[in-house]
Symmetry: C2
Subunit: 395 residues, 2 copies
């Protein structure tokens, strides 16, 4: 019986985590849940899984949840303290599935409390990878990736000797603009950027797929998850998203994990590891097996001219420990502005590049001592990106 | 330092084994070699690797080898006793790379002497898989596949729990007649059957690729190598031969090994296991890394109507322990007759089917007690196939 705590239980990954856990009640006990303000959905989850502890965004949400649950409600906490309480609850595994910078502090708290972490929250490693890696080592916990790409690498690395690893190859769908000319991309609309060919995701990450920034952020994650230098991490465009990623070993063997695009698989791999769950037999909402017959898989090198965000991620990794947090924060501000139709599509990459450049020029480099250092870099970059919008330099 | 003995050192796999071993003199010591009548090539190998024991086909070849080597020659044996001496020499690993039924007895001898075996000789498992599996278990040795397909499965199974394995999928190039109509295949010439699209191999195995019998024999090998029932072994046609094979796990994950078609990779995996050799850096005759960019991989279900030999392999596996030996022997006789232009191409499958049918009808079923039982089934099937040629029933 594995006891799990879920940070972000009402989000997409959180819900699917509970779908998997609910299909295997003999294997998982859900001991703590943290969500934001979706009180109704959280109340349903509490009624079904009966956790001992629940946390919500604030006192108002806590009151609403208590009202919804009536007598027999579990302990209800809120705010940062609530997130930390869920992160350090008496569990075997913490699923870190909050969205954005808010996930960093509770994830570090979980690691420092000795909990294994299934990590779906990109920002944790993008903002503070060096710091998280040091904490993981110091506390001897296991960091299990939930992203499909990193899960693929994690799965094929199992059973291989680390010294035999030559290269990690992250696959990328290429996004909706894969075959567009630079001129056409320059005029891309919000609707066009949101039309992702394979995965159904939130708007922020879908725009990141269109710029390839998403793949850049995954390169940064891979660098810390697998402790591999950036020059040994490659990206390969694979429009069908069937090969989720690959590794190359020193004897020329390339190992890959393939499957239908369904997040329940990497989630199940992370929560059940080192076991695997019979998802094909036992999920109420059926999982399709991969059928390659009649299929075709294509691969191409990413075009770093048309998609400059990918190269920015490598530049950030070659820089100081705070540089990825700077790039990520600038990008969040830019994508929000693009989605609000206040910024043209190519200005996302241009602004990201300018803010990163400004960071390097200011020689702000310093090792990350704690989450606050990463948060400070994040805030600094947001301010610089907004200054550029205000001055008109970004458009 | 791993001490290796090579059965069949002057054949294609044997030579490439020594090429790999020779590139890593700090890791391998070649202690014994067995070959047939290629005395000159063997003498070269002896001068380079200085084994303690060498075996050749017969006394004439032994004399020729002694003359070629002059003083300082190692111990030279010959015949069946010589093969057994090499198979049971004081080594850590025996590479079983003889061609045909002659390899069965020495491979069993190696297993019974407690040696790990790197197996390239198909007939060992095709003729006597049940027997070999029992011997491997009884003596607690490791059987390491050298075929590229089985090596792929072996590599991705490492690090997975056996109970999570749902299905093995062997890839097949589809051979030269993949896109031919049944009518056109019926008139296929020897030259057309020998024009394999991807791999350069001997004539027998190349014809087997054209009939898909080769893939059928690999299904039989996989059944014993991985102890998986035939209904959980599938075949997928993949014309580019880049994905060497796949496994499907219970959670829907599919793991694959990919690479350029180069036998030195699966040979190195087998001889170095559980380590891997830095082939990409250290082979004198360079190994190309796999470059997927710009590439395309296709997959299709095999057509069991146009290629009936594949189904015969499954029928043999569903039968008694000797049935695969019967099918294999009939096939060897048929392919030789086809290569000698005494049999039309479709008569290979038809004769194989008829002889297997005759075996089942005669109720000759009995468990294999030793190599002689398999050899007896082999001889019986050869006689039946030849009877059919003589009677004109095969043409």
């Amino acid at each position: 019986m594995k006891r799990i705590a879920v940070l972000g239980s009402t989000g997409s990954v959180g819900e699917q985590t509970l779908e998997v856990a609910g299909a295997f009640p003999d294997r998982f006990e859900v001991v703590a849940l943290a969500a934001g303000r979706r009180v109704e959905k959280l109340a349903e989850q509490v009624r079904r899984f009966r956790p001992l502890l629940v946390s919500v965004a604030d006192a108002d949400a806590a009151r609403a949840l208590r009202d919804a649950l009536g007598t027999g409600a579990p302990a209800i906490a809120s705010g940062d303290a609530g997130l930390e309480a869920v992160a350090t609850a008496d569990a075997d595994l913490v699923v870190s599935a909050l969205v954005g910078a808010v996930g960093l502090a509770p994830t570090l708290a979980a690691i420092r409390a000795g909990r294994d972490v299934a990590l779906a929250n990109k920002e944790v490693l993008v903002m503070a990878g060096a710091l998280v890696l040091r904490a993981v080592r110091a506390h001897g916990v296991r960091l299990l990736p939930v992203d499909s790409e990193h899960s693929a690498i994690f799965q094929v690395l199992a059973g291989q000797r680390r010294e035999d690893l030559r290269r990690i190859v992250l696959t990328a769908s290429g996004g909706p603009f894969r075959e567009w000319s630079a001129a056409r991309i320059a005029g891309a609309s919000v609707e066009e950027a949101l039309a992702h060919p394979n995965w159904s995701m939130g708007p922020k990450i879908t725009v990141d797929s269109a710029t390839l920034m998403n793949k850049g952020l995954e390169v940064i994650e891979a660098r810390w998850l697998f402790d591999v230098p950036p020059e040994r991490i490659d990206v390969l465009v694979h429009p069908q998203s069937v090969v989720h990623s690959l590794i190359e070993l020193c004897d020329g063997s390339v190992l890959a994990q393939l499957g239908v695009p369904d997040m329940r698989v990497p989630i199940a791999v992370a929560v059940a590891w080192p076991e695997r769950l019979p998802l094909l037999d036992r999920l109420p909402r059926a999982l399709s097996p991969l059928d390659l017959a009649g299929g075709r898989l294509d691969f191409e090198a990413p075009d770093r001219e048309r998609f400059p965000c990918l190269e920015l991620a490598y530049a950030a990794l070659r820089g100081d420990e705070a540089a990825p947090a700077v790039l990520n924060a600038a990008n969040e501000v830019c994508v929000a502005a693009f989605l609000a139709r206040r910024l043209p599509f190519p200005a996302i990459a241009a602004t990201n590049a300018a803010v990163l450049e400004q960071h390097f020029a200011a020689q702000r480099a310093a090792p990350l001592r704690d989450a606050r250092d990463a948060e400070e870099a994040d805030a600094w970059a947001r301010a610089r990106a907004r200054e550029r919008f205000a001055s008109g330099a970004a458009a």
